[in-house]
Amino acid sequence: GNSSGSSSSSNPSSVSAIKKNGTIKIAVFGDLPPYGWVDKNGNRTGYDVALARQIAKDLNVKVKFVQVNANNRVDALKSNKVDLVLANFTVTPERKQVVDFANPYMKVSIGVVSPKKNPITNVNQLKGKSLIVNKGTTAENYFTSKYKDISLQKYDSKTEQFNALKNGRAAALADDNSYLYAWVKNHPDYTVGIKTLGPNQYIAPAVKKGNQSLLKWVNKEITKLNHNGFFKKDYNENLKPYFGSDITAEDIIITK
């Protein structure tokens, strides 16, 4: 079984341990504009990355980014590669069993993108066709369990999945709708034919299971950032330029 030996005394990711270290290790994506990516000058940037920087700032420590793919987010926490995951991590019941999620900071649902020439607007159109997903995403889980007659192509990274779509390897691609909005803005030949699928879901920071210390701190932090309008600002800076006019901040961020 998995040893989850993160009791407070030996927890290398507790708030005090992080402060003592002077750095927090945060998992982010590296190839998912506009959430976590690297600009042409080699700087990490994006919505998640800005949040990560803010958290580090408020903890008064330096931030160290660890680039992950969707399917290593859990293991990165489990194996102490990172203290915190801010990589568009959707809260699901299965994941809750293996990591601890803090309060959510984004709303999301599954969307399906396809070429404008052959748009997919209904899941039934996908029967007997191929659909691209990213390993370890909610979209993959959703289609794997609900639609056995759609054949899935499972890629390791965002780059690979979008390239495969562009190369016409499948009829459509399913992923969190928020990226898809951003992606079609840059790729006008494609459309998000199915905007939402399945239940509404939330994206939240995640810590290693049992890391109460950091979890509590992050929860407080999210509430604080919500109050002082950080997410709105983050949205305007990092997401808005990538989304079309049919998306508003309220579709994405959580304002309670």
Partner: protein, 229 residues
Amino acid sequence: MGHSGINIFFEGANFIRLLGGLYVSAKIALLAILFGGVLGIVLGVLRTLHNPLLRMILRLYLEFFRIVPTIVLLFLFYYILPQSFNINFKADTVGTLVFSLWMAAEMSDIVRGALISVPRHQVEAGKAIGLNPFQLYRYILLPQSVHLMIPATINLMTRIIKTTSLLLLISVVDVINVGQQIIEANSHRYQDGAFWVYGFIFILYFILCYPLSRLARRLERRGKVGANG
């Protein structure tokens, strides 16, 4: 192709970043070759000793690294070590460790092969003048077998360098990872970025490995002539 895709390299710091990624791969390869090489020589010598238990253990070590694909090794060390044994390393360190251990395993076989190919009567001649086992290795076996080891070792080095391409899968920001970042970040302007970036990385690896394999081949040929002449 609208405007030429090759310009993707001249956007911002893209070109330098790719080279930076290459440096990460090359550094890991180099460290692995260094550590693994030294360890491999020691293990290779140990494998020629007549200790059945030691031999079997080292043989198992070699076979494990031979049978398990490198991708799987990387995942094993990256995830299982910390979770099961509470040892935690950064991705780069895990990469270096896995490649070092792999290098050592293969190197031990090269060293062993070279040592046992020293003619038996050379060893016997050494024994006949009263050399002890250590002296046999020091004066007879090692000096006479290095020339056999070198070409195979250089070939192994190119394999290590080539295989660093898998580091991407444990989140090391290597040349391919940087390449993917670039493809994604520029995907709206450069629809054919994948062609150019992957093509370029292909050439980069070739430039790294080709001179080495040429050298290995030359040494091998010279070794053959030397042995017969």
